[in-house]
């Protein structure tokens, strides 16, 4: 920057002197050396001012703005990436939790099913045993009743035979004769 400034100062001092060749008459305007010192002078003045404005004010400012924007964009991109990673992790955790809950639910359901099956089995066994017991009791009662009935059959037969004989013969047979005759009939 100092180099450029020094060159400009050197130019403002020397060029007008070099271009001082004087002449008259109408010339091709761009080659009219009379205008050179003035043009050089104003060019150095305006370009020098432009150079200072650009190098001191405008370019550092634009550079800073671009840098700031680049940093902002980079920062936002990084933040977005982090957020995405976080979201992915959360989604994964959620899925894991879901899978775990599903497994838990299955285990609970299975256990409940097994438990109810066990209970039903136990109840059924109880009922079956109860029924079996009742059946045995009923069979015993039937057998007893039958035996009792069979016991009375002899008495009934004797009474009936005694009554028949009494009706036929008019005389009640003796118990011994009756028993003998009945025993013979039962023996046949």
């Amino acid at each position: 920057m100092r180099l450029v400034t020094a060159l400009m100062i050197a130019a403002v001092l020397t060029v007008p002197a070099l271009a001082a060749g004087d002449g008259g008459g109408h010339r091709f305007p761009p080659f009219d050396a009379r205008t050179f010192p003035g043009q050089i002078f104003w060019l150095i003045l305006s370009f020098g001012a432009l150079y200072l404005l650009m190098s001191r004010v405008a370019l550092p400012r634009v550079g800073a703005v671009l840098e700031h924007r680049r940093e902002t964009i980079d920062g936002n991109l990084r933040a977005a990436e982090a957020a995405q990673k976080q979201a992915e992790a959360a989604a994964q955790a959620h899925e894991q939790a879901l899978a775990k809950a599903r497994a838990n639910a299955q285990a609970i359901a299975q256990e409940a099913r097994a438990k109810s099956a066990r209970e039903i089995d136990a109840k059924r066994q109880g009922v079956e045993q109860d029924l079996a017991r009742k059946m045995i009791a009923a069979e015993q009662a039937i057998a007893e009743t039958k035996a009792k009935a069979m016991e009375h059959v002899g008495d009934i037969a004797r009474e009936a035979a005694s009554a028949i004989i009494e009706q036929l013969g008019g005389k009640k047979p003796t118990a011994a004769a009756l028993n003998k005759a009945l025993g013979a009939a039962a023996g046949e």
Partner: protein
């Protein structure tokens, strides 16, 4: 500007006219139309670059976008030609580009004065660029900088031929740099004026007026071309400056 009664003079637009007479050190340093348009050029650039960026917005408005676009355009041109260490010349290259571009474009305003159509201006810029190249080269690399004129891996007898050629080519750089910009701006404006003048003359020439639209259409086309040239020449000037600065930073072939 064609004065009534005078033939249309395409060179009139390049005449430097005094606006305020100033004499310093026995020299004529008058404030002229050339000086005025130089100041307008830096005024426009300052408006964009200083006023436009004053708010330092994160999301730029129009002027700030323009300023940032100019900044990044010149910065990428410079770093593309010279690498990162060329950025120390950024203010100079940026000022040059903006000044030349603004002067070229302002010259497109009818009735304005084209600062860059004056050879003394373009020559001054070329001398500035080459001066910076030589001085920066010598400061950075000492006498090694002059190795620029000695291509490596060339046998001695051919060197005797090569070194003068290299020196001549180096010395012709400021000449071509200044003449290219000057010539383009001068010629373009003369052509514009010639077509415009022809259209006016045909209009005043009775039946020939029927042909007047032809040069008018040409003038329109050349105006479009001149806008392109205005940018292109500013860009060429800038990129050549960058290429020459690259020699100062990295001499040797």
């Amino acid at each position: 500007m064609a004065q009534p009664g005078k033939p249309i003079d395409p060179m009139h637009q390049f005449e430097v006219q005094k606006l305020v007479d100033l004499q310093f050190f026995g020299r004529d340093l008058s404030f002229t139309n050339a000086s005025l348009w130089m100041l307008i050029a830096i005024g426009v650039i300052t408006l964009i670059m200083v006023y436009g960026t004053a708010r330092r917005e994160l999301v730029p408005g129009r002027l700030q976008s323009l300023a940032e676009m100019a900044y990044e355009f010149v910065a990428s041109t410079l770093t593309g030609a010279t690498g990162k260490d060329g950025m120390q010349f950024f203010p100079l290259v940026f000022s040059l580009f903006m000044f030349v571009f603004a002067a070229n474009l302002l010259g497109m305003i009818p009735g304005s004065f084209t600062v860059t159509s004056q050879i003394v201006v373009t020559a001054a810029f070329a001398v500035l660029v080459i001066g910076v190249v030589v001085i920066a080269g010598v400061i950075k690399h000492g006498t090694h900088f002059f190795g620029l004129f000695v291509p490596s891996g060339v046998p001695a007898p051919i060197l005797a031929l090569m070194v003068p050629i290299e020196i001549i080519s180096f010395l012709s750089r400021p000449v071509s740099l200044s003449l290219r910009l000057f010539g383009n701006m001068l010629a373009g404006h003369i052509v514009l004026k010639a077509f415009g003048g022809l259209a006016v003359m045909l209009l005043g020439a009775g039946a020939w007026a029927a042909l007047a639209p032809v040069p008018l259409i040409m003038a329109v086309a050349v105006t479009a071309l001149e806008f392109l040239v205005a940018f292109l020449q500013a860009y060429v000037f800038t990129i050549l400056t960058c290429v020459y600065l690259n020699d100062a930073l990295h001499p040797g072939h």
